[in-house]
Amino acid sequence: MGALIVCTDLWKIYRLGDVEVQALRGVSLEIERGEFVAVIGASGSGKSTLMNILGCLDTPTRGRYWLDGQDVGSMGSDALAEIRNREIGFIFQNFNLIPRTSASENVQLPLFYRGASLREQRTLAAAALARVGLAGREHHYPAQLSGGQQQRVAIARALVSFPAILLADEPTGNLDTESSRDIMVTLARLNREDGLTVMVVTHEADIAAYAAREIVVKDGQIVSDRRKAPVHARGG
């Protein structure tokens, strides 16, 4: 079995009138199951663009991408939706919970689109919320939760469908230091205990420190890719 993610020579070019923006310029990458990867780089370096392509929300202008052995590059929008539903868990900087909808229902959403029964949805959502330390908050609305709690609901939503990989784009960008640490510890624990593959995009070095592999992106290219000891391992 090959790596979970294999991509070769990914290009993403935006055309804004006469101006051409090369957001990605030939990115090749492999990620194994169970890895905890941080992608760091300055703002505008192409991290989100890469993340969106890996998450099947976007397609590259050029290049090939295999997710779990499937050639994602050739898929239509329905097939991509299916992949997102089964293989990908997204975590966004601004949480992106559906307002005035309970924590449980937010977490149920991927299962809902998978056609699971309501009972299965509720049971799995409760379990996922428990895994991120939010047991008993099922019926809270986003507005009744702190930023850190909202992001943990988002993590629960990302992992409820047992995806192949969690993709987090600046997950701590809107959080204070305390909550940020909280989120990163949660992600690290899910990676360590459940073997979940995690990829975190960030521009902060101390967030990247939680990962065991650090990929540096600059001007749409990978300029460094190294394995290292994660911070919690270092700390004991």
């Binding site: 997204f90 809902f112 689109y113």
Partner: protein, 411 residues
């Protein structure tokens, strides 16, 4: 898919109930449109049923033959001219056409009827006894005019309820009393059972019958003895009517010695024709109301489309999130279509309720008969569903075609 639809419907209810005022205002067009349709159709149906009942009460097996030709527009001409129908015509029709169970003749004029020191202007009808049978009159007291009355030109009269009310004290028995018409005294031999208003709205109980022979000799006068105002014929079964009409025309044309190129000098009507004309008027009215209601539904539909476009814009990020977690285009499409249809259906149901109340109110206030048909409710229901579907399609499609990344980034 079942669970998906069910939960989507629940979500739609929740989303709409969050913005009750907005949802209510959006539904207003549909409510008014559907309400108007239901109310109008039930008024129309009520009127139609009333006409039908009238026609049936006057006998669906009756042929009326009037003197004079019919112009293209359906207006009778030559009424003041030569009298073209006679008692002999009636007798000959009866003899020559076995299908006819009865023929009768009548003439009428409005005259002063005097009783004691009271008087009343009412239509005085000279009739043959068969007329009373054909028109199915019955009696609250006394009995009909007989063949003997006709033969002897007896001075006897039957009077309707309206005449009774205007000439007699409450509780006074008219039968046996004497009234005068044109200084001729008549003995009242019967009081007619009330029939109420005719389909045309005239009072059928404002009536007085005397023997035809008495009428032409002593009261109404005549150009020549035996000329009649109208002939009546009845068949046993309504199905026989068309054949009987053809036979009547042939016999009369032969008797009147009309050449093939000459038009009829008489006009044949059946109650079915009369009813049809009236129903036609009702239908035109219903059709006009339908147009008004359609415009209302159109406006309602546009309102739904408008509010849904606003909703799609407001919830762009939500749509992005749904797509990110695996919603396919059709899921988003269905979600917004269901919201549109929930709005229009709810509006439709409220419209049906208001329409029924409106129809009831019309009956109570204006006294018009109304019939609430299950069919019109069903049609209104399906129509509002269709309006939601049709006008929801554009916004829903717009939502479904959003690019997930742009939707997620939308502020």
């Amino acid at each position: 898919m079942g669970a998906f639809i069910l939960l989507t419907v629940l979500t739609a209810f929740r989303v709409l109930s969050r913005n009750r005022l907005r949802a209510g205002l959006t539904m207003l067009g549909i409510i008014i449109g559907v309400g108007a349709v239901i109310a109008m159709v039930s008024i129309g149906e009520g009127a139609k049923a009333a006409v039908r009942a009238q026609v049936a009460s006057m006998g669906t097996n009756v042929i009326i033959i009037l003197p004079g030709t019919t112009t293209v527009g359906g207006v009778r001409g030559g009424q003041g001219g030569a009298v073209t129908l006679t008692v002999a015509d009636a007798l000959d029709l009866k003899k020559k056409i076995p299908l006819l169970t009865e023929t009768a003749w009548a003439k009428r004029d409005v005259m002063q009827i005097v009783y004691g020191n009271k008087n009343w202007n009412g239509p005085v009808n000279g009739v043959s006894p068969g007329y009373l049978t054909i028109r199915d009159w019955s009696y609250t007291s006394g009995g009909p005019i007989t063949q003997a009355d006709l033969d002897t030109a007896a001075r006897v009269a039957l009077i309707g309820q309206t005449v009774v009310e205007n000439l007699y004290e409450v509780g006074e028995e008219p039968v046996g009393s004497t009234i005068r018409i044109k200084n001729v005294s008549f003995k009242v031999v019967g009081v007619l059972a009330p029939k109420g208003q005719s389909a045309q709205g005239s009072d059928q109980d404002d009536i007085l019958f005397i023997p035809f022979t008495t009428a032409e000799r002593k009261v109404l006068g005549t150009q020549f003895l035996g000329s009649v105002g109208a002939l009546f014929a009845a068949t046993d079964r309504p199905e026989d009517l068309p054949e009987a009409v053809t036979a009547v025309r042939e016999v009369l044309r032969a008797r009147h010695r009309l050449q093939p190129d000459q038009p009829d000098d008489f006009t044949i009507r059946t109650q079915v024709d009369i009813g049809r004309v009236q129903e036609g008027t009702g239908q035109t009215l219903t059709l006009m109301m339908f147009a008004v209601a359609s415009i209302s539904l159109l406006v309602g539909g546009i309102g739904i489309m408008n509010i849904l476009l606003v909703s799609v814009t407001e919830r762009t990020r939500e749509i992005g999130v749904r797509m990110a977690v695996g919603a396919k285009r059709r899921h988003i499409l269905i979600q917004f279509l269901i919201e549109a249809m929930t709005l229009s259906l709810f509006g439709g149901v409220l419209g049906i309720v208001f329409g029924i109340l409106g129809a009831r109110a019309t009956t109570v206030v204006a006294g018009w008969p109304t019939i609430i048909s299950v069919r019109s409710i069903l049609v209104a229901f399906l129509f509002s569903l269709a309006v939601g579907l049709f006008f929801g399609l554009y916004p829903a499609n717009k939502a479904a075609r959003l690019n997930p990344i742009e939707a997620l980034r939308y502020e």
